[in-house]
Structure formats: C-alpha cells, structure tokens
C-alpha cells in the first residue's frame, strides 16, 4: 500500500463515473492534439519560413508580373538567389480532386528552397530529360497513388494550352519527400519553360518571384527595398516572407489560429466545469472518510495531495489516451491534412494536463483539507 495506490483506488471506486470523466478528458485532448497538430503542420503558417521571401503583384496574387523583372530583383542589394514561379491549378479526374503544379526553374529552386522541400540534385537533374517531366510531393503521390514513371493528366481550371485544350500531360520523374514532417508536399514541381511555351496566354509572365536573402541581411529591410524599387513601375510588388504569405493566405478564409484557440478554449472550459463539478461531489461523498483519515493522523497537506493526486490521475490517463489517439490520427491523416504532432505540441499538452489536473482538483482538495474532523463525522 502507498498513498499513490490509495489515490488510484479512490479514483476507481465508481468505475462508470471515472470512465466517463476519463472519456471527457480524452476527447478534450484529442481535439487539442489534432488542432495543435494542424497549426504546427503545413496547413498552418508555422510550416512557413521567415528566410524565404516571395515577391507578388501588389494588385493580387493572381495578377501576373513580367518575368523580366527578375533581373532587377536579382540585382537588388542583399538578394542571394532568386527564381520565378507560375502556378497551374487544376484537377485530376474529378473537379474536387484539386492539384497544383509550381512551374519554375528547378535548379534555381533547389538553391533557394531545396533543403526545405527535400529536393536533391539527382531529383532536379531527372527533369532535364524531357520538358514535360515533373517532381511530385510525397503527400500528393501517396494521396493519388502515383509512382515514378507514371504519366498523369491535369485539367487546368484557367490555364489553356495553345491548342485550346486545358489538359496538361506530365511524366513523373521523381518524388520529393519534404525537409521535415511539417513540409507541405501536396503539389508538383515542373519546368517553367514547358508551361510557358505551351500556354495560350500570359506568356513570359510569372505569378511570383522567390528569393533567399544573403546571410546577415535584414529581411524587413530587403522587403522594403524591393517594393520601393517597383513602387512606380507598371507592376508594383508586395514582398512577404513565406510565413507571412501563408498566414495571409489562411486569413483569406478565416483566422484559423483564433478559431482553433476558441474551439480548444471552449472544450477545455466545458471539461473543467464538468470535472470540477463531479470531483466536488465525489469528494463530498467521502467527507466522512476524509475525517477518518485525519483521525488516523493523516495531515491536511497529505489529504490535499491525495485529492489532487486523484484528479491528476484522471487527467493523466485521459490526457495521454487523447494524445495517443491524436498521434494516431495525425499519423494516418497527417500527409493529406498537414497534421504534425510535434514534441513541442506534446510538451505543451503535458503541461496542460498537469495544469488542468491541479486546477480542477484545487477546489475539492481545499474543501477536503479544511473540513474539521468533527464536521466530517457528522456527515454519516
């Protein structure tokens, strides 16, 4: 027998009640685990980099800019490397099966963003054999069931070919894995020269320029310098870091972070109220026994620890179960939904488990600690 065992036995005296509390905590931490994984994953802005800058038209993301602007951007002091991209959005088979292709200079992209995307010289080299070759991200390849060497067709939403059709055919030359689990790999990388030659309109234009600043250069100063250089041109620019871009992109729909905070906050508040209420009643039912323990010489501090230990146990069992389910969920749906249950998320969740366990136990524990033995004995 130990006091831990006593707390454990107390916690499971009414198995159904405890089980329901554990389920309650499990669901709350499952929600927390999945939403926090979403934020930490590529669907959130956390996957974006502050070191990579994107230059887009100030008129909007879909407004093309002349490719010729690249020379001026490249010569801007502080720019290490730069390349251009054009996005081809379309679908495979059915319209809801949306995919996108980033048409670029793959060798330049390797220099700028190769590490983050998991690109290698061999992968980029494999695009050289034919202009219609593409690299497919791991998440997209897994979701579509594509393999290297396979020919795929994308029906573009807007970008028409010179022949009037909108079907673009590609050969998969390789699959890039992403630099880490949070990297968005649900897209393809293709050659700009192929797309540019074959498309009917907007030739020699790009959707964005991507650049990496030189080491030690302030990104905010560089942003201001580039935008100032094009401020009075025919194509004014808006330069942002990749992270800022992702945040702005997500905010087009809603403030995802705020929504997630509200959902998690609401679920935790509800959880807290349920558990506090249940624990207060559970401890009140045992007032007599708490008086008995005090009579045996158990100190007020130990009574406090016993009750806090009981709520902590419920939170630990439920919380760890919830996080395990969230880990399972992010493992299964992670590549497609961009869920990453990182160590940081787990550490925060563990801190929450401990914090909430102590917070919910505080009121019943304080009540138990304060109750005089004589008053406790009158409850039978």
């Amino acid at each position: 027998m130990t006091f831990f065992r006593l707390a454990w036995r107390n916690a499971w005296r009414k198995p159904l009640r405890t089980l329901l509390l554990v389920v309650c905590v499990t669901v709350a931490f499952l929600i927390y685990g999945l939403t926090a994984s979403f934020l930490a994953g590529s669907q959130g802005a956390a996957g974006g980099s502050d070191d990579i800058l994107g230059v887009m038209s100030a008129a909007g993301r879909s407004t093309p800019m002349p490719q010729a602007m690249m020379a001026r951007i490249a010569s801007t002091p502080g720019v290490a490397t730069v390349t251009y991209t054009t996005r081809l959005r379309g679908f495979v088979g059915v319209e809801k099966n949306v995919v996108s292709l980033t048409a670029t200079d793959p060798a330049a992209l390797l220099a700028i963003n190769g590490r983050e995307l998991g690109l290698t010289a061999e992968l980029v080299g494999s695009l050289g054999a034919a202009r219609d070759r593409v690299l497919v991200g791991r998440a997209l390849a897994d979701a579509q069931g594509w393999t290297v060497g396979q020919h795929v067709a994308i029906t573009a939403f807007r970008m028409a070919r010179q022949d009037g059709g909108r079907d673009w055919r590609f050969e998969i030359a390789g699959i890039f894995e992403g630099g880490n689990a949070s990297t968005d790999t649900y897209f393809m990388i293709g050659r700009y020269d192929y797309i540019n030659t074959a498309r009917a309109r907007d030739k020699d234009t790009v959707d964005a320029f991507i650049l990496r600043p030189r080491d030690g250069v302030s990104t905010s100063e560089l942003v201001a310098r580039i935008d100032a250089a094009f401020a009075n041109s025919a194509s004014p620019t808006r330069t942002q870091s990749e992270k800022q871009f992702l945040e702005a992109f997500l905010r087009q729909y809603a403030d995802v972070g705020l929504i997630i905070d509200l959902v998690v906050g609401a679920s935790f508040t509800t959880l807290l109220l349920i558990v506090v209420n249940t624990m207060v009643f559970a401890i009140r039912e045992r007032t007599f026994e708490i008086g008995l323990l005090k009579t045996l010489g158990v100190s007020r501090r130990r009574i406090l620890s016993l009750v806090l230990g009981e709520t902590l146990l419920i939170f630990l069992v439920g919380g760890i179960l919830g996080l395990a389910l969230a880990r399972l969920g992010s493992g299964i749906a992670g590549p497609t939904l961009g869920l990453v249950l990182s160590l940081l998320v787990l550490a925060k969740a563990l801190a929450l488990i401990l914090g909430l366990g102590l917070a919910t136990g505080a009121l019943p524990a304080a009540n138990a600690m304060r109750t005089p033995v004589t008053a406790a004995f009158r409850t039978r």
């Binding site: 027998m1 130990t2 006091f3 065992r5 006593l6 036995r9 107390n10 499971w12 005296r13 007599f288 026994e289 008995l292 323990l293 005090k294 009579t295 045996l296 010489g297 158990v298 100190s299 007020r300 501090r301 005089p372 033995v373 004589t374 039978r380």
Partner: protein, 235 residues
C-alpha cells in the same frame, strides 16, 4: 475524578471547559471537568446521550479542542498544539476503535490495517510484517486480502482494532466498540481489549452504553450533564 496511583496521570484533564454555539445560543458541555487516568488503566465511560461522552472522546483524540483548561496526555499539552501537531501526535501515540468500524471499503483488510503505517518511516516489507503480525494477533491470519464488505461485524471490528494498534500506540480510544455487534462477538472484542490492556499495557478509554462491556474495564466513570457523577472500580 482522579486515579489512585501516586504516579503522574497518563491522561490529565484539569478545569476543561467546552461549549458549542447553536444559533445565537452558547450551549455549555463542560464547565470545569477534571479527569486523571493512569498509564495502563482500562477505563469505561458511561452516561446518557448528550452527557458529553463523545465530546470528551473527541478531545482526548485531539480532533476537537477545549475552550479552556489543561488537557495533558503522556506529558504533552494537547490543548496547546495546532492541528498539524495534533495529527502527528495521533499518528504516533493513539489508536481509535469506532462503533461502526469505519474501514475503507475499497481496501483489503491488510491495506486498511497498513494505513497508519504509511505515516511512519518504514519500508514496504516492514509494514507488511507488522500488518500480518497484528492481523494474526486479532485472529484474522489468512484473511489479509479479504475486503471488509465480505466480513462479519465482529471480523470488521477485529480489523478496526488491528488498525488501531498496528503503530503500537500507548493509548487506545474506543467509541462504543461493541455497539454494533451481537453478544458473542461483543464478548470476543471485549476480551481482546482486555488482552491488549493486561498483556500489552495499552491504556484504554472506552465509551459505552453497555454495562456488560463496562465490566471489562478496571474503572467505570459515569458522566451526566458534563460532570462525572459516579465512579466504580472493578472488584
């Protein structure tokens, strides 16, 4: 009430005052209670309901304090101790046997008995040995893993006694220990208390309504309206 020995009393109450506030009214239980019990005595306290027996027992157990006077047990002034100090004192110096046993239903007999030992610096092995020893002493060897709900009243009270003596306290307070038992079980429990008093030297204070139970004590005190009105020693 004083004991007859010349030794300083083990339990020494002088001028104890105690009252309770009921609404706006203050109800006095004891106005000036004196009591002396020598070490190793077996004292029964009898009296009608409301005479102050339970209040007296609560004060002797240190779970309620007097409003005035001196309460000394084993040379220690309980009336001057704070709650934490009284808790620690209880854990080491006193065991209580209750009328309704008050065992924790989710613990086995052995675990119930072991509870007070958790407050002592003993290893798990030492705790187990002492638990088995007292369960054997009260005649419950082999029933260590049985839950109280599966035991008879007499067996539960034996577990209660084992729990009260497992930390080897000098003082045993018994609150109607046979009040919930049939005659046969009651006699067994009283015989056990007599054994603990005579063979192990425990000082026992027993509150009871049962004159037959009181006969097992070496001295019987009658309490009425907060005062001792009669004293009878065993022949």
């Amino acid at each position: 009430m004083t004991d007859t020995n010349d030794q300083p009393p083990y339990i020494d109450l002088k001028g104890i005052r105690k009252g309770y506030r009921i609404g706006a009214e203050m109800v006095s239980i004891f106005s000036s209670l004196d009591l002396a019990i020598a070490g190793g005595e077996f004292v029964a306290i009898m009296g009608p309901s409301g005479s102050g027996k339970s209040t007296l027992l609560n004060m002797l157990a240190g779970i309620d304090g007097p409003d005035g006077g001196q309460l000394r047990i084993g040379g220690k002034r309980l009336d001057q101790m704070g709650e934490s100090a009284r808790s620690a004192w209880r854990a080491h110096n006193m065991g209580i046997v209750f009328q309704f046993y008050n065992l924790l239903p989710m613990l086995t007999a052995a675990e119930n008995v072991e509870l007070p030992l958790l407050l002592k610096p003993l290893s798990a092995r030492e705790r187990r040995i002492r638990t088995e020893k007292v369960l054997d002493l009260v005649g419950l060897a082999g029933r260590e893993k049985q839950y109280p709900t599966l035991m008879s009243g007499g067996q539960q009270q034996r577990v209660g006694i084992a729990r009260a003596i497992v930390s080897d306290p000098g003082l045993l307070l018994c609150d109607e220990p046979t009040g919930d038992l049939d005659r046969k079980s009651a006699d067994e429990i009283l015989a056990m208390l007599g054994f603990l008093n005579k063979e192990m030297g425990k000082t026992i204070v027993m509150v009871t309504h049962d004159p037959q139970a009181a006969r097992h004590a070496s001295r019987t005190l009658h309490l009425d309206k907060g005062e001792f009105v009669e004293e009878r020693s065993a022949a």
